[in-house]
């Protein structure tokens, strides 16, 4: 079991460039999330998904897009990168059922993105 895998681990982008952050999980979790963490700060929710084909905005969705075509994958797309998007991005997954509302999140190791 690899858990939650994120690629790449590091990336430097120029202003205006685009990129996709990859996230995949092998735990058959139905919920997946993207958070960003600015230096010394907490985690802010960007987008989340409750299952394949279903996504919704979190607290800070502007400048990002997501898709969820399979249970395993939840890529995050940055269009027209800006310096304000310099951050560490974490993907997470969890399982939820009718029996128990939620379980703990499993986080990926993160992608450190710098926009210059």
């Amino acid at each position: 079991n690899a858990g939650v895998t994120q690629t790449p681990k590091f990336r430097i982008l120029k202003i205006g460039q685009s990129m996709t952050l990859q996230c995949t999980q092998d735990m058959n979790h139905n919920y997946m999330y993207w958070y960003r963490q600015d230096p010394g700060m907490g985690l802010k929710l960007i987008y989340y998904s409750v299952g394949a084909g279903i996504t919704d905005k979190g607290e800070v969705p502007n400048g990002y897009n997501v898709s969820r075509s399979t249970t395993e994958d939840f890529p995050l797309r940055l269009e027209l990168a800006a310096p304000s998007q310099t951050s560490v991005y974490f993907c997470a997954s969890s399982y939820s059922s009718q029996r128990q509302a939620n379980y703990g999140y499993t986080f990926g190791s993160g992608t450190r993105l710098t926009v210059v």
Binding site: Y33, Y35, G42, V50, N102, Y103, G104
Partner: protein, 109 residues
């Protein structure tokens, strides 16, 4: 709405105890606690699902007071390995976690 954690930072000697508080202005249905070491991903510690519930994880335990809309994390006889930033997270619809700003815990020998 983001839960509020206090204190923002704590410095302890090994073997001392600490309490980290998490409060919300919204009704709480469950509270998560995570620990993040520098340069690493947050790691799940525990979840509290019911008001008044207490749970434990090694020498780390937590309580959840639904009426007061707050949770507390207790670290007893702290070890060097407990150093890191602790985050509480409150569930706000569709299993979305909103995290507090974090409490940085430093344990000195």
């Amino acid at each position: 709405q983001q839960p509020v954690q206090s204190p923002q930072a704590v410095i302890l000697r090994e073997g001392e105890d600490a309490v980290i508080n998490c409060s919300s202005s919204k009704a709480l249905y469950s509270v998560h606690w995570y620990r993040q070491k520098h340069g690493e991903a947050p790691v799940f510690l525990m979840i509290l699902l019911k008001g008044g519930e207490q749970k434990g994880h090694e020498k780390i335990s937590a309580s959840f007071n639904e009426k007061k809309q707050q949770s507390s994390l207790y670290l007893t006889a702290s070890q060097l390995s407990y150093s890191g930033t602790y985050f509480c997270g409150t569930v706000q619809g569709a299993q979305k976690l909103v995290f507090g700003q974090g409490t940085r815990l430093t344990i000195n020998p």
